[in-house]
Symmetry: C2
Subunit: 480 residues, 2 copies
C-alpha cells in the first residue's frame, strides 16, 4: 500500500534523457538498480488480492460444476458435460484462446455392487468398489473371511488366506495439516491389497477406507494389479465395518461374506480432453505459465474438493486477471486436466502434445489439495539450484499475498498432473491447502460444496492469480 510498483513509477533519472533507451527500459525494466520482486510487484499483487477478495467467480462456477453436473469419472457422459461447460464458461469470459485437446482415457465402469454378510448374522455392508478392479463372476463370490491388520500379518497368516476374502484393517494414521501424512501409509492397502491377497490364493480383497473420520463412509480410489498374479475383485468397506469384522474374528466368530461387483474396464481407451484457456503474454506469448486443476473425479459425490476447487480456482484466477486488464509479459495458460484419478492420461498427453514448447514453459502450478485455507507452496524442480532459487523467489512473491494467508514456499510435492513434466526442467508448484479435513470426504459421496469454505476458496483464487501473474511477468524465469 505504501510502496508503488515500478510499472507506474516515473522512469529513473538515468533514463529520463535517453528516449531511445526509455522504451527498452520500460519494457524490460532494465533500470540501473534492479528492483526486488517486492518493489516491482507489491502494488500489483495487492490489487489482485483485493479485487479477488471483493469478488470472484469461484463459488458460482463450483455450483454449476458440482450441483448441475456432479461427479465426472473419466469416460463418463458427466465428464464430457463438464468439459463442454468449462469451454463455454471460459469463452464467455472472453479469454484469448479457449479450446480442448483430445486425450484417450481409461473407462472404468462400476456397475451394481454390494457386500452382504451372511454369517454370523445377515446384513448389508456399505462399500465402494475400487477403481480399476475387475468384477466378480455372476452370482458373486461367497467366502469366509480372514481379517489382517497389515501386509506383515498377511504374510504370517498366508496359508489361511487361500479361498477366502481377505479384509485389510489397516487404520490410517492421523494426518497432519500439510500433507495428510497418514495417507501414504494407508493407501498402499487400497492400491496393492488385491495383489497381495491374490498371491496367497485369496478370492477377493476388501480394504478399510483410507480416512481417520468416518460416518459409515466408504472411500473409493484407484488400485492396480501386479503382473503374474490373478486379478481378484477389490472394494473399500467403511472403517466401522472393518473394525467390526476384526472384533468378530477376535471373538472367534466365523464370518462369511458375499461380494458382488459388476465392475469392468472398457477394452479400449475412450476419448476425453484437457480444457485449455490462455491469457496471452504481452511480450513473450510463447513462454508459458500453467495454472491448473483436474476436471475429472471419482464417480461418487460431486468432486467439489477433489478437484472442483482446483478447477474453479484456475478458471476464476484467469478471469480475475482478465477483468483487471492485467496482461503479463508471458502467457498464463489454464489447463483443466482429464483423468487424474485413474491414469494421469491428461498430464502425460499434454507432455507429448506440447513437447516442442516445454522448453518455453516457465512454471506449472496445480491445486489438488482441496479448498482448505491456503498454507503455502510446494516447489519441485529437477535441478537443486533452480529449486532453491525458485523457493526464494516464490517466498518473496507469497510474502506479498499475506492478505490471503501466511504462505511459505518449501521443497514439496507439486501435483499429479504436472509431475510428468519434471524432467522438462521447469519449475513445478503445488498450491497447498490445509488438509486437516481433506481425507474425511476424499473419494466419497460427501465430497460436496457445503464442505468448501468460500473464504478459503477465494484466497486460493487470489494467490493463484497473483503468483501466476508475477511469475509470468518477472524479468527472469523463476528458478533462474
Amino acid at each position: 500500500m505504501f510502496r508503488l510498483s515500478s510499472r507506474r513509477l516515473p522512469v529513473s533519472p538515468a533514463v529520463r534523457f535517453a528516449p531511445a533507451l526509455l522504451l527498452a527500459a520500460c519494457s524490460a525494466l532494465a533500470v540501473e538498480q534492479p528492483q526486488t520482486l517486492t518493489e516491482r510487484y507489491e502494488r500489483d499483487v495487492q490489487r489482485i488480492v483485493a479485487a479477488v477478495q471483493a469478488d470472484n467467480d469461484a463459488m458460482p462456477l463450483l455450483q454449476e460444476l458440482c450441483d448441475d453436473i456432479g461427479h465426472r469419472l473419466s469416460g463418463s457422459p458427466q465428464l464430457d458435460d463438464a468439459i463442454q461447460w468449462a469451454v463455454r464458461r471460459l469463452r464467455a469470459a472472453g479469454h484469448d484462446f479457449v479450446g480442448t485437446e483430445t486425450v484417450m482415457v481409461t473407462q472404468w465402469i462400476r456397475g451394481e455392487e454390494s457386500v452382504e454378510m451372511l454369517a454370523p448374522r445377515p446384513m448389508s455392508i456399505p462399500m465402494l468398489g475400487l477403481g480399476g478392479s475387475v468384477g466378480t463372476p455372476a452370482g458373486g463370490i461367497t467366502a469366509d473371511v480372514l481379517v489382517v491388520n497389515s501386509f506383515e500379518e498377511l504374510q504370517q497368516r498366508g496359508s489361511e488366506a487361500r479361498g477366502r476374502i481377505v479384509v485389510f484393517n489397516f487404520a490410517m494414521p492421523t494426518e497432519n495439516e500439510r500433507e495428510g501424512a497418514g495417507y501414504g501409509a494407508a493407501v498402499r492397502y487400497r492400491y496393492g491389497g488385491a495383489g497381495a491377497a491374490a498371491k496367497h490364493g485369496a478370492r477377493a480383497a476388501l480394504v478399510r477406507s483410507v480416512t481417520t473420520r468416518s460416518l459409515q463412509s466408504p472411500h473409493t480410489g484407484g488400485m492396480g494389479y501386479p503382473d503374474g498374479v490373478e486379478q481378484i475383485p477389490t472394494a473399500a468397506i467403511t472403517t466401522e465395518f472393518a473394525e467390526m469384522l476384526a472384533r468378530l474374528q477376535s471373538r472367534g466368530q466365523a464370518i462369511t461374506l458375499r461380494l458382488n461387483m459388476e465392475a469392468r474396464t472398457s477394452p479400449a481407451p475412450v476419448p476425453s480432453a484437457n480444457v485449455i484457456a490462455e491469457l496471452r503474454g504481452r511480450e513473450r506469448p510463447d513462454e508459458i505459465v500453467v495454472i491448473s486443476g483436474h476436471l475429472d473425479s471419482w464417480d461418487v459425490g460431486t468432486g467439489a474438493q477433489d478437484d472442483g476447487a482446483g478447477v474453479v480456482t484456475a478458471m476464476a484466477a484467469l478471469n480475475a486477471l482478465k477483468k483487471l486488464d492485467l496482461r503479463p509479459r508471458r502467457t498464463i495458460r489454464v489447463v483443466l486436466w482429464t483423468n487424474e484419478e485413474n491414469g494421469i492420461a491428461g498430464g502425460r498427453t499434454y507432455k507429448q502434445v506440447h513437447a516442442d514448447e516445454l522448453a518455453r514453459h516457465v512454471a506449472a502450478i496445480e491445486l489438488d489439495s482441496g479448498a482448505g485455507a491456503p498454507i503455502g507452496y510446494g516447489v519441485e524442480a529437477q535441478d537443486k539450484g533452480k529449486r532453491a532459487r525458485a523457493i526464494e523467489q516464490l517466498g518473496e512473491i507469497l510474502g506479498l499475498c499475506r492478505a490471503a494467508g501466511n504462505l511459505p514456499a518449501y521443497e514439496g510435492y507439486s501435483g499429479a498432473d504436472i509431475r510428468p513434466m519434471l524432467d522438462a526442467g521447469f519449475v513445478l508448484l503445488g498450491q497447498d491447502a490445509d488438509m486437516t479435513h481433506y481425507f474425511d470426504i476424499h473419494h466419497t459421496e460427501a465430497d460436496t460444496i457445503d464442505k468448501i469454505d468460500p473464504k478459503a476458496l477465494t484466497n486460493h483464487v487470489a494467490v493463484m492469480a497473483a503468483v501466476s501473474y508475477v511469475i509470468a511477468d518477472m524479468d527472469e524465469r523463476i528458478g533462474n
Copy 2:
C-alpha cells in the same frame, strides 16, 4: 485413601457402653456426631471406582449387543433378541432377581424407501423415513419442491406449498458439551415439519437431518402428526442435499422429486418388555434405586451410543457391585427400558405397574446421553427444596468419584424413560456425558461401537455404580 469409611470404624465412645443401643447404632449409624457422606462413603466409593476402572463388563457386553444383535427398534425381532440376551447375561451374573415385564409398544415398519431427484438432473438422494411417518401411495409421490429455512418462511410462502414437497432446511445450531443446545431448535422440524407442511396443502415433507456434522448421513428419529390435518409422509435427507436443494432453488432451478416410502404402523401395539434385575437391599429391600438405560434403538446402525452405552453401563454397574459383594441397605434395580425412541411405553408402563411401590422409590438414574466422558448429573424433583437438597448431597457423592471425572450436580434434565415418574415425588437423575460429538451419529448408520471410548464408558460404569450404591445405602432418602 486416608480416611476410612465409618462402616468399618469402631463405634464412638458414647455408644461403647450401651450394648442395647450398639446394634441399633450400627445398623442405622445413629452416632452422636452424624458423619458426612464423605466420611461415611469415601472408602467405599474409591473401592468401587478403582475396581471398575481395573475391570468391568461394559465393552464385552456392548460388543455382544451391537455386533451380534445390532439395531433393535420396538416390535422388531432384534429387540426381542436383545431382551432375551440381557436376561441371560444378568442371570449369568447371579443377581437376586432377573425378569421382564410386558410392555405393549408401537410397531413402526420402515419398508423400502427412496428419494429420487428427477429435475434438474436425475440422481438418488440419501434419506431415512422418520419414525411414525405414513408411507406414500404405491408409485410414490412426484412433486415440485419448495425449500424453506424455517416455519416462519413456510408461513410467508404458504401459498407456494400446495401440492408440493416441502423441504425444511433449518440448520442445527452448533451444540455445546452439556446438552446439545442446538438439538431442541432443530428437532422441532423433524417432529413437526410434516404437520406444518400439511396445513399448507403440501404432499410430503423432507427435513434436513438434525446434526452439525455430516458425511451424507441421514438421521432418522420420531415425528408426530397434529390433529386435524392430513397425515403426509416425511423423511430426513442429508444436510448436504438440503443445502443443495436450497442452492438450486435460489438459482431459479425448478426441482422435482419422487418420494417412495412403504412405511406403516401396525394397527395394534405389539408385546415387548422392560428387563429388570435387582441387587436386593440388606435392610430396606422394598426401597428402590433405579439405574437404567433404554434397550430399544432406531432401526439403523447398532445403537451403540443410543443407548447401548446406557444399557451396558447399568448392567456392568450392578455386576461390579455384585462382584465386590457390596450390598447396600436399599435395593438397586436395573431397568432396561423398551420403546424410548418411539413412545416411552416402557417408562409409562413401569409407572403403572409399579404404582404401589413408587412411594418407596428413592431415586431413578438414567444414562441416555451417549458415552462421551461423564460430565456430571442433572437433577430433577418436583419439590424445589428436595431438588436443592439432592443437588447438594449428590455433589458430595460425586466429589468422591473424582477419579472418574470432575462431576458437578446441577438442576437439569434426567431421562426420557424416568421422567414420567416426576410426579411420584422422588429424585430423578440424568447421568450426563460430553455430547460434543453425540449428534454426529445420533439415529444414523454410524452409531457403532468404534465411536465409544472404552475409558469414558468405564468411568460411566464407575460413577453409576458408586452413586447408586451411596444413594441406596445412605441414612436419609436423597433429597430429604
